[in-house]
């Protein structure tokens, strides 16, 4: 059973990591969601006992570990909130750059760098000329 959990979590994490490397911002969000699900699945799987649902009155025999389930629930809630935040952030970015592509962001940053570089080059040349 542990092996199934491990394989499923690994598949989720791998798929998430692949999507995270994509240029499309919405896919990046999906990547983060999948990775968060991998973490939740691992939390569920990390329970020390497995058995009946841990609800009072407790049944005979083993009861599954309530602590890992509580952790998984908390992680799901946090994951939901963070995903909502990330989606809003992507929306704002798309509105600001008018493009859902990560390449736009990189191009903007590169352009800014190049502009700064030119300014500095010019200043440097002027200083050299003044020194002569």
């Amino acid at each position: 059973m542990s092996l199934v959990f491990a394989l499923a979590a690994a598949a989720l994490f791998g798929t998430g990591a692949y999507l995270l490397l994509d240029r499309d911002l919405v896919r990046v969000v999906f990547g983060v969601v999948l990775i968060s699900q991998a973490a939740v699945l691992t939390l569920v799987a990390s329970g020390l006992t497995r058995g009946a649902a841990p609800i009072y009155p407790l049944s005979e025999g083993t009861v599954s570990d309530p602590l890992s389930q509580a952790m998984a629930l908390t992680a799901i809630v946090i994951g939901l909130a963070v995903t909502a935040l990330l989606l809003v952030l992507v929306l704002r970015v798309v509105q600001a750059y008018r493009s859902p592509e990560l390449a736009e962001l990189a191009a903007y940053e590169a352009e800014r760098e190049a502009r700064l570089e030119r300014v500095h080059d010019r200043e440097h040349a002027e200083e050299e000329a003044a020194a002569r």
Partner: protein, 456 residues
């Protein structure tokens, strides 16, 4: 006990209320400052009771111990909480005087204070994750502050990369629970000896990656320059002086206390990564002209020193790492806040901060560097590296000083007297910690003794 509860509840409650109010009104901004000041006062009271007689512990909700979530304040946690709270307070005062641009800013900063205080004062692993995520989420929101193209782009990168880091952290938390059967940090430290070495090493790597991403160490740094240069000065000061402390704290707490054997095993790797950080940050900072870019790369270099000290380990190494983190956070708060200000007082404060970054007396950085030299005294190669790093930081810090203040190239608005007062107070604190270092030294030694197997 009361101080411990208050230091958490005050910023939490105040933050929730303040996010509902319009933060652009000065009154709301000052209420946030008051909440942060109250948090700082509660932490000072807590420190006064923690430092003489060890640690203060409490269990939430009056549950029996072992069932409820444990809060634990010891020298290390209190020191980091105080430091972060101070950085947040100074930056918020600065920004409120500058004029808050977005309605959520004051509330989010106060919630960040709640998250940071919680991270440093919790004794429970999963609770650590929850507070960690609270602080990080506030950090993601702060990174968007300003709302321009650059801020949004930087915030997106920051959020995505750090979310990946926190989920890797969560995976390691699940692993620790599975192999030790407990979430209480003191219990984990005791039971870690019986755990299979390979499993423990994998968990340690997970924690290391998660905290390195927060710190912005060399191979995990790629998000850092964009964010620190894209954000407004107050936000950069909050992120580098407050939020980044989680990384150093996490490495010390998890490496030094929970997984000491794995830390020993990885010492060489940590020193190598730290050295790479020092050189990379130093060389790239020299090539930068604008103050905020220089500071961003300097931040990468400076945390390298912390990692080298942790890699050296033992009471001396840990004490050096703690001391250097404190000094570095103060430097970065001071320098980032000055990034868009002009004037003679600002120039003097920047010079003092630059001296501190370079490790020249009488600034606090000198004491930090001295402790690092003491920790690495056995190894000539490391000493040479530290000297080279210091030389680089001297060059980049004063190169920027020369451009910005001697030639007067810096553009920026004239700041108010009170803002300059905040800068001057921070600069005086850096100076005081350098001139009279005993309290800080004693504190970091106490904290380091806790980690190096002092009281298991």
């Amino acid at each position: 006990m009361t101080a411990l509860a208050l230091s958490l509840v005050v910023p939490w409650g105040a933050g929730l209320v303040l996010t509902l109010l319009d933060g652009r009104r000065p009154l709301v901004g000052w209420l946030a400052v008051a909440a942060l000041a109250a948090n700082l006062v509660a932490l000072v009271a807590l420190a006064a009771s923690v430092l003489p007689d060890g640690s203060v512990t409490a269990t939430t909700g009056n549950w029996p111990a072992g069932v409820g979530i444990a809060l634990r304040a010891d020298a290390l946690g209190v020191l980091f909480a105080l430091l972060s709270s101070l950085a947040l307070l100074a930056s918020t005062v600065h920004e409120v005087l500058e004029g808050v641009r977005e309605r959520t800013f004051p509330g989010v900063v106060v919630l960040l204070a709640a998250g940071l205080t919680g991270v440093f004062l919790t004794g429970d692993l999963f609770n650590f994750y929850v507070f960690f995520e609270l602080a990080m989420t506030a950090g993601y929101l702060l990174a968007t502050y300003g709302g321009g193209r650059r801020e949004l782009g930087a915030a997106l990168v920051f959020t995505t990369v750090n979310l990946l880091g926190t989920f890797i952290f969560l995976l390691s938390v699940a692993g620790v629970y599975h192999v030790t059967g407990t979430l209480e940090m003191s219990g984990i430290a005791a039971r870690m000896d019986d755990v299979d070495a390979n499993a423990a090493l994998m968990l340690a790597v997970g924690f290391f990656v998660a905290f390195s991403v927060k710190l912005g160490l060399f191979p995990f740094h790629f998000w850092l320059p964009t964010v620190y240069t894209g954000a407004r000065p107050a936000v950069a000061a909050i992120l580098s002086g407050g939020l980044a402390n989680i990384g150093a704290y996490g490495l010390l707490r998890f490496g030094g206390e929970l997984l000491p054997e794995e830390l020993d095993l990885a010492a060489g790797a940590l020193i190598a990564i730290g050295s790479a950080s020092i050189l990379y940050g130093g060389v790239l900072a020299v090539s930068r002209r604008s103050a905020s870019e220089m500071l961003a790369y300097s931040a990468i270099g400076q945390v390298g020193y912390v990692l080298v000290a942790i890699g050296v380990g033992g009471p001396v190494g840990f004490a050096a790492a703690i001391l250097y983190t404190v000094v570095n956070a103060l430097n970065k708060t001071l320098l980032f806040l000055t990034a868009q200000m002009r004037g003679a007082i600002v120039g003097a404060a920047f010079a003092l901060g630059a001296l501190s970054v370079a490790g020249v007396p009488p600034a606090a950085g000198f004491v930090g560097k001295l402790e690092l030299f003491r920790a690495t005294a056995d190894s000539p190669a490391l000493l040479a590296l530290l000297l080279l790093g210091s030389a680089l930081s001297f060059v980049y810090a004063f190169q920027t000083y020369q451009y910005d203040f001697w030639r007067g190239e810096r553009r920026g608005r004239h700041s108010t007297v009170v803002q300059q007062g905040v800068i001057a107070a921070l600069a005086l604190l850096v100076l005081a910690a350098g001139v009279w270092p005993e309290p800080l030294l004693a504190l970091s030694n106490d904290a380091a003794e806790l980690l190096a197997g002092g009281d298991r």
